[in-house]
């Protein structure tokens, strides 16, 4: 039942219950995009990554380790090379591969944004 509530909370926040609004923290980031590359990267992130990489309960229902990626590059051992590879190749049965989606310059901008997120 709990997972139903979590999933429906997302639906409700979008479609139904005005009193359930206020989940603006979903849009919180560790840093604010300021440069053109960061702003473009944030846009790609929002259109592409945010659906899973957000802190809502619905994401937890998926049952895989998904984080909102805030402070990603501050984590020990996280390198740009690794992040690029992960975005392009995905993770079998967990995360789709974006190697057909992003052009190199688009990937550069996502990296620029993730560095300040």
């Amino acid at each position: 039942m709990g997972r139903h509530i979590a999933g429906l909370a997302v639906l409700a926040s979008v479609f139904m219950l005005p009193l359930s609004l206020g989940a603006q923290s979903r849009y919180a980031t560790a840093g604010k995009a300021q440069t053109d590359a960061e702003l473009r990267g944030e846009t790609f992130f929002n259109k592409t990554c945010f659906l899973c990489h957000n802190p809502t309960g619905q994401t937890k229902e998926v049952g895989v380790a998904v984080t909102d990626l805030v402070g990603l590059f501050k984590r020990p051992g996280v390198t740009e090379e690794y992040v690029r590879m992960r975005i392009q190749e995905g993770i079998p049965r967990r995360m789709p591969a974006y190697k057909y989606t992003f052009k190199p310059e688009q990937l550069d901008r996502i990296i620029a944004y993730l560095r300040i997120r």
Binding site: M1, R3, H4, I5, G7, L8, A9, L11, A12, S13, V14, F15, M16, L17, P18, L19, S20, L21, G22, Q24, R26, Y27, A33, L39, R40, E42, T43, N46, K47, T48, F50, L51, C52, Q58, E61, V62, G63, V64, G90, P92, R93, R94, M95, P96, A97, Y98, Y100, T101
Partner: protein, 617 residues
């Protein structure tokens, strides 16, 4: 001084400074001489139907007009200041210029649009994109229906059509979606889905489980059924080698469609929980009202510039989601716009706004007070309303309708004859009867205000040569619902009653039409085709004082108008992409209607004004 107090004062100063430092916005759409120009193509030929937009630096307001048959555009009166002015049309580049408007002086800004080497798909609305996908075979046409009926409600297809994945990645996403698909443990918890039951009320087998072991539901079963055909189609149209789009572009707006002024207001991103927002049309400044310790308090919402690539202003940046817009909106008796986020309605006097949920809640626009009324036994869905006497408030629920005596708070439930029919929206007609759209079964239910009797009105069956016997079989076996729909569904979703006329209207979400019903006889009248509307997903219809029916197109960045007498439709453009504009509200003035359109997909609301008589055709 504490840090929070200093921050508050700083924000207050910003808010106070806003109207003094930024241009104010005219309330008249009439053309002026302050900013005009001509748009031509590379060969020097005037272009009709090009969107020209102006935005002052640091302003939450963006004004757009369209060129006429001579390529001419003229903004309404705008205050002095520096503006960024841009022109754009599908298939062309987007030149941007800086214009300085000085009092009493005419500024001219001409544009030349250069054609792009090929159609940039990101410039297309979802409806345009779907229309241009391959449809040479029956299977392709069938899968476009599957996409529309099963993907589009959560994901504007233009958003994911921008991406490309191989079959393995699409399978992964399906696995994840099946874990979060609403299997429907509601109606107590959310959108009215029945626990383990089909539309109509019969149960699924008890041993039929969803991906996480819970009782299965309609959404899950439809996703499972179409997965085997849908994934190859997704790989075909959005795979490693994407399908080529049909090159023919939809026509740009022309004639009366171009004779409008659209003023877009950026909404604040930070909104206290449950807040009711109001926008000052002159300045674009927002004020938020919300409950604190049981009392309504207000807060100015300083404008925070948004990421320019996420505003929908530049069409080449494609369709986006989750940009802190608003799903519904309301207008008071003066035409002042309110945004709340969830589903809302206005009373006939336009001095009270209703929103639902677990309890009736109202906002008094005169006293600026939020009032929480009675709790209801079944959570409300998307519709609320008030009768002509101000005695009853109504709401649609997963089971039918709920009525509250506004004075006493007494609540009464009315169930639809067909169980689990997904009553979605509701409205009150001029006889004070209450109409419910039953999206899962293509019917409308009517609650007789005097007797309490509930009757159902069927719509004609939707038929297509591309629907196969197995589609009919899964429809009969599983049913249909709101986020996932079987093929063969019209999907009457949001509805609107003409309070001074005899008709009730509903947008058919899956087939792109406006359904008309007779409130006097409680009968179906006809389906009106929306031009290029097959993939546009008409949403909320809203009749004006002249009985013209305005409606949102959630997948097509357009605003429609139906003349129900002649059947003529006029489709007006919106200047942003990815609006996912569903709801709308109309303010009747002596000069004609002013239509407000909230954007769900982009963080704005739009005021649409007309430079022609909309009551004539």
């Amino acid at each position: 001084m504490s840090r929070s107090r200093a921050l508050f004062l700083a924000l207050a100063l910003v808010a106070l400074a806003l109207p003094a430092t930024l241009p104010a916005i005219s309330t008249s759409p009439a053309p002026s001489k302050e900013l005009t120009g001509t748009v031509r193509d590379a060969a020097g030929k005037p272009m009709e139907g090009v969107a020209v937009s102006a935005e002052a630096e640091g302003s939450p307001v963006r004004i757009s007009v369209w060129t006429n048959q001579d390529g001419l555009y003229a903004f309404p009166a705008i205050d002095a200041g520096r503006y960024e002015v841009s022109a754009q049309a599908v298939g062309f580049d987007r030149p941007v210029a800086q214009a300085t408007i000085a009092p009493g002086q005419a500024a001219r800004q001409d544009f030349t649009l250069k054609p792009l080497p090929e159609i940039l798909p990101q410039q297309l609305s979802t409806a345009e994109w779907l229309d241009r996908l391959p449809d040479e075979t029956s299977q392709d046409r069938r899968m476009k229906m599957v996409v529309l009926n099963n993907c589009s409600n959560c994901h504007l297809p233009a958003n994911w059509l921008e991406k490309r994945f191989d079959a393995e990645s699409w399978e992964t996403m399906f696995d994840n979606m099946l874990k979060i698909a609403p299997d429907g443990s509601v109606p107590d918890d959310g959108a009215g889905d029945p626990v383990g039951r089909r539309a109509g009320g019969s149960p699924f087998p008890e041993d039929l489980k969803d991906a996480l072991g819970g009782p299965t539901g309609i959404h899950t079963e439809l996703m499972r059924f179409y997965r085997k055909d849908l994934i190859p189609y997704l790989v075909k149209v959005a795979g490693p080698t994407p399908a080529p789009l049909k090159p023919q572009a939809w026509p740009r707006p022309k004639g009366l469609e171009t004779q409008i002024v659209v003023t877009e207001y950026t909404l604040p991103t930070e909104r206290p929980q449950g807040s009711v927002g109001v926008v000052d049309q002159r300045t674009g400044k927002s004020t938020l009202y919300f409950l604190r310790d049981g009392k309504t308090v207000s807060q100015e919402a300083p404008y925070t510039p948004r990421n320019t690539y996420r505003t929908g202003a530049d069409w080449s940046w494609g369709t986006r989601e989750n940009e802190s817009g608003t799903h519904d909106m309301a207008l008071d008796f003066e035409g002042t716009p309110y945004f709340i986020g969830g589903s809302v309605s206005m009373n006939p006097a336009r001095d009270r706004i209703w929103f639902g949920g677990r309890q009736f809640t109202s906002f008094d626009v005169r006293t600026k007070t939020i009032r929480v009324h009675s709790r209801v036994p079944t959570v409300m869905s998307h519709g609320t309303g008030e009768d002509s006497t101000g005695t009853w408030a109504w709401g649609s629920t997963g089971l039918g309708a709920v009525r509250m005596n506004i004075r006493t708070g007494e609540v009464t439930e009315f169930k639809t004859p067909t169980a689990d029919s997904r009553p979605y929206d509701m409205d009150v007609d001029r006889f004070d009867n209450v109409w419910l759209s039953q999206i899962a079964i293509d019917k409308m239910a009517v609650v007789d205000n005097k007797t309490g009797d509930v009757t159902e009105i069927a719509m004609p069956k939707f038929e297509s040569p591309d629907i196969r016997p197995e589609d009919i079989e899964i429809y009969n076996k599983v049913g249909s619902w709101d986020h996932n729909s079987a093929l063969g569904q019209h999907g009457p979703r949001r509805l609107g009653a003409d309070r001074t006329g005899d008709y009730v209207y509903a947008g058919t979400y899956w087939t792109g039409k406006i359904a008309q019903f007779d409130a006097r006889t409680k009968t179906f009248v006809k389906l009106h085709d929306v031009p290029n509307g097959r993939w546009g997903q008409p949403y909320k219809p809203f009749p004006d004082r002249s009985h013209m029916v305005w409606f949102g197109m959630s997948a097509d960045d357009k605003l429609g108008k139906l003349n129900p007498t002649t059947g003529q439709m006029t489709m007006y453009p919106l200047p942003s992409r990815g609006t996912n504009s569903r709801h709308l509200a109309v303010h009747d003035t002596p000069e004609g209607p002013v239509v407000w359109v909230p954007y769900t997909g982009v963080g704005k609301i739009a005021r649409v004004q007309f430079r022609h008589d909309t009551s004539r055709n």
